[in-house]
Amino acid sequence: MNPVLPILVFAPAAGAAVLALAPRGGARDPLRFAFGISLLPLAIALGLFFAFDASSASPQFPFSTAWFRSGGVDVRFAFGIDGISLLLIALTALLGPIFFLAAPGHIAQRRREFAAWGLLMQTGMLGVFAVSDLVLFYVFWEVSLVPLYFVIGIWGGTGRARATTKFVLFTIAGSLLLLLALLAVLLEAGTADLFELARGRRLLPASIERLAFLGFALGFAVKVPLLPFHTWLPEAHVEAPTSGSVVLAGVLLKMGTYGLLRFCLPMFPRASAEFAPLLLGLGAAGAVYGALLAWAQRDLKKLVAYSSISHLGLVAMGLFAREATAVEGALLQMVNHGLSTGALFLLVGVLYDRTHRRGLDDFGGVAKSMPLFAALLGLTAFASIGLPGLNGFVGEFLILAGTFSVTPVPAAVATAAVVLSAVYLLGAVRTVLFGPALPATARLPDCTKREAATLLPLAGGMVLLGVLPGPFLERIRPSVAQVVERTRALAQAEPARPEGQR
């Protein structure tokens, strides 16, 4: 019994409770308070990273007590992480403080509420990655969504009502499918333990496996979002305040890809095999489609949002290649995308805070007056388009090389996205940073120390993961190998056709 994971998960929630209960004048600077609280999970996550046993695929730092029993299933209040969760927890914990550090630039009103919602969201997201019980997973899954609804709904832009409605409808539809599938699995398998389910010696009956897979896959696909369930994302991003966009792109979308990897592949190996061609195709097509859409945008936030769709299409493709290299790359790319897209949203926020504009054509020649901003935007853009030496390359390279080694066609198609990413992102960089300065943007002040403090940790991560991916890959290798081996081995056992058709 190791209480470290529950402490990691609930520390932000405790902070949120303090903020909510404190008397009105009590929290003079709620954003700073929340920032301080969010450093605790970061410190714990760093400790976990170094204490993690890289040679093991079994869940580590377990914590488990009885919760309730229902339908013959023992539902437990259980935590435990493997390499897959570890990386995403580290990412979440890193983006937590940045969420609050970036907020003073654009959150002027109701800061206490904002801070409380932010902390609660942090608990939800950390919980999603740290639990080892299916029911508890679902609880945290839902907990993480509500705060974002309020963050966009209260502090969002003018079109926030429509955006939040769409966001909520999409995610609730996804959640419902998830819930139904989850219950089916629970009752059929007789256990709620995630790792037990993933390791399970026996398969679900084929008909249930198929339906449950579809439920999970659709629920997660909406979240990722995979083509064609993506249209809520650009709207949500455009309306969300900068901090909201950072966490939405950085972590919340990863809950979808995490789900695909944690649940769909190992729990439904035959259905995964059956639907792999479809998902590979959707992933590759989404990578190219998202890139083309990003190119067509004139709004910087939309451009970044569509680039997310492109990058996550690549991740989904890597996952459903069901090959160790590609899956490791996909997992690494989730972290990479969190760093680089988080940074891109922060950078767009820096411009927006100064000008209240986001259009590509509203800027020009900014590099002259904002050299630090220019350097950071350049670095982030090159990380995002996969320049070797920075993080994006390692992920992309592994995904594409691994996928190509089992199914060359989708990998070859997705490689086009690599070319297009340079076109749209460097094109945007060219317009914003270079050329003669526009009168309106000729004298913008460079990044402040606070802004630099939000961006530099991400920039450091981009370089670190690009130059030394070893410590990260090492920690995920056993877990990924286990998932891939099981998925591959059982997929060949028997095809996932409903009994009636056999």
């Binding site: 594409l400 090389a401 070319v419 050329g435 003669p436 070893g470």
Partner: protein, 641 residues
């Protein structure tokens, strides 16, 4: 000894970091002008010093390499594992063998000279430290490219030099033109690089190994199936076509001349653009196992050599003329490699690095003296005003034109000799000789238009300072003795080919009466080119130029960007239309469907609300009907269990 190997990449990298930090310091205290000069000396010293020391390390290592028996001439430095995921392993391993040693010497040697020149050329530029940070980073990336022992590591350097090229072409970013040119260079290169990546993926799929030794060995032993070898070679050659500006991806290089002239000399003439030639040489066994691809290499090279030769002939911009000349000479190198004469291709790479860097530096000196003028029609008669620059330029042009005793004659001769031996001999040979003729013609055209005849410029140009002239003199000397590296006719020795023999195997192609015949022929061709140039441009000057400019073919060649316009009109426009079409499709069809479902749902809600009428009986009927339906469903679906 191999412990020194990482220094080759590490020194310029450290220099780049130091310059970057100094640049940041300049930004912080940008108003203090007196400090700028001191800062420039410091930055220039660090940057040049780091590359110069790297050069001496390279010399040291090469001497050690030569002391070993030929079959053992390789140093390896293992720096651990870079990537290890699943089946894919990429060790961080550097390899110094004769081929990479030669490249390292050229890159660090010419690089150090151009760094030195840059101190003078970039004096008082507000981005002085930034410039040297980029330039040092370039050298580090280029050395990683040549020293990497496997394809992914070379790819890191490959994209790294692309990044520096992008940054340096667009160095004067406040102007839109350079920024656009940098973007274009990066994007066009990315298209080729996609091929490079796919080639790596294919080799990974087929072999699981990506280091050069394994790939070459697998191609030699037949472990790699023939069509996989063909596919991989062709895909990797796509990368080479992009980086080395061969048809159809040559369009970025003329635009790249928007960068500072020393950058054009180092990156876009002497080193980076030769990376494709190096890659083909590095994987020569793979290419030999794919004869069809090797023929493509030769034909693409020969075709590019010829067409870019015409382009070089008709340019009015001094730097663009040199850029087309570079494209053409790179084509000749590929032509040699395509004919199987890999050592000849590499030998020409080396001599070309000397004389083309020299030509660019001399051109920079001219442009500097004329206050930024690049138009050939506004030069002329400069030999009297800029005597030292004139002599250097003449040495470079002489070497380029392929006339003895300068270097170009000897290395080009090797290529032509090889072309007449390899596959596709008649075609490749004809292309090679035609390109050689054009080379001599356009080389001397430049000499005459810039340095002889009437003065068509304003002002009183002054000779450049010693800091600019010394590196040019050093390169002029190399352009003179460089030929001896390729071929020493009296003893019939080929130092470069012999040095490279452990990599490429002995090349028995040359020698004997046949070789003399080739030499005489190429000499004759070049001499005719020279005489024609003399007649057209020395005797008639700009008048001759104007007469030629009326020829329709000349105009096509001068436009140079025929293919450019074609791409803009077709590929780029089609992709752009596709992107916008996707945008519309996404908005109206995909999102439209979503919104339609939303509207349908709310309409359904409105309808269903009528059911909620408060009558308990109606509810009971509903509950009963639903229960019945569920039972029926359970019966139908669960029947098999």
């Amino acid at each position: 000894m191999s412990a020194l190997l990482p220094l080759l990449v590490g020194l310029p990298l450290a220099g780049a970091l130091a310059c970057g930090i100094l640049h940041a310091r300049v930004l912080v205290r940008r108003h203090r002008d007196p400090e700028a000069a001191a800062n420039e000396a410091l930055v220039g010293g660090i940057a040049t010093g780091s590359v110069a020391v790297a050069f001496f390390v390279a010399v040291l290592l090469t001497i050690r390499l030569l002391s070993l028996p030929p079959e053992h001439r390789r140093f390896e430095a293992d720096l651990g594992t870079w990537i290890d995921a699943g089946r894919l392993k990429v060790p961080a391993r550097l390899l110094l063998d004769p081929l990479s040693a030669l490249m390292t010497l050229v890159v660090s040697g010419v690089g150090a000279l151009i760094h030195l020149y840059s101190i003078g050329y970039m004096r008082r530029d507000p981005g002085f430290a930034r410039y040297f940070a980029y330039l040092n980073l370039f050298v580090a990336a280029m050395l990683l490219l040549v020293l990497g022992a496997n394809l992914p590591l070379t790819f890191v350097g490959w994209e790294g030099v692309g990044l520096c090229s992008y940054l340096l072409i667009g160095f004067w970013y406040e102007k839109g033109g350079p920024a656009d040119a940098g973007l274009k260079a990066f994007v066009v290169n990315r298209i080729g690089d996609a091929g490079f990546l796919l080639g790596i993926f294919l080799l990974h799929r087929e072999l699981g190994a990506l280091d050069y030794a394994s790939v070459n060995e697998a191609a030699r032993s037949g472990l790699l199936p023939a069509n996989a070898a063909t596919g991989a070679a062709l895909l990797l050659f796509c990368g080479a076509v992009g980086k080395s500006a061969q048809i159809p991806l040559q369009v970025w290089l003329p635009d790249a001349m928007a960068g500072p002239t020393p950058v054009s000399a180092l990156i876009h003439a002497a080193t980076m653009v030769t990376a494709g030639v190096y890659l083909v040489g590095r994987l020569h066994v793979l290419f030999l196992a794919a004869p069809a691809v090797l023929l493509v290499v030769g034909l693409v090279g020969g075709g590019t050599a010829l067409l870019a030769g015409f382009g070089a002939l008709a340019q009015r911009d001094l730097k663009k003329a040199l850029a087309y000349s570079t494209i053409s000479q790179l084509g000749l190198m590929f032509l040699g490699e395509g004919a199987g004469a890999f050592d000849a291709g590499i030998a020409h790479l080396v001599t070309h690095a000397f004389f083309k860097a020299l030509l660019f530096l001399a051109a920079g000196s001219v442009i500097h003296a004329l206050g930024g003028e690049q138009d050939l029609a506004r030069m002329g008669g400069l030999a009297r005003r800029l005597p030292a620059t004139f002599l250097c330029f003449l040495a470079g042009a002489w070497a380029l034109s392929g006339l003895p005793p300068f270097a170009g004659f000897f290395s080009k001769d090797e290529i032509l000799g090889g072309a007449l031996h390899g596959a596709g001999a008649p075609v490749l040979g004809a292309l090679g000789f035609a390109a050689s003729f054009l080379t001599a013609l356009y080389s001397y055209r430049l000499v005459y238009l810039v340095f002889s005849g009437r003065e068509n410029f304003e002002g009183r140009p002054h000779e450049s300072p010693a800091l600019l002239l010394h590196p040019m003199r050093a390169l002029a000397a190399l352009s003179f003795v460089g030929g001896a590296l390729a071929w020493i006719p009296i003893w019939n020795r080929r130092p470069i080919a012999e040095f490279l023999a452990p990599v490429f195997g002995g090349n028995e192609a040359g020698g004997g009466a046949e070789h003399v015949l080739v030499a005489v022929l190429s000499l004759a061709v070049a001499f005719v080119g020279f005489l024609l140039a003399r007649r057209l441009w020395m005797d008639r000057g700009l008048a001759g130029e104007r007469a030629l400019a009326r020829l329709p073919l000349w105009r096509v060649a001068a436009a140079g960007g025929v293919l450019d316009a074609f791409y803009r009109g077709t590929v780029v426009r089609a992709a752009r239309v596709l992107a916008i079409a996707c945008g519309v499709f996404d908005l109206f069809v995909v999102d439209g469907a979503v919104n339609g479902i939303g509207r349908a749902a709310s309409a359904a809600g409105e309808t269903l609300r009528l059911l909620q009428n408060g009558k308990v009986q109606a509810y009971a009927i509903g509950v009963a009907a639903a229960a019945g339906a569920l039972l029926l469903a359970a019966f139908l679906l669960g029947g098999t269990r």
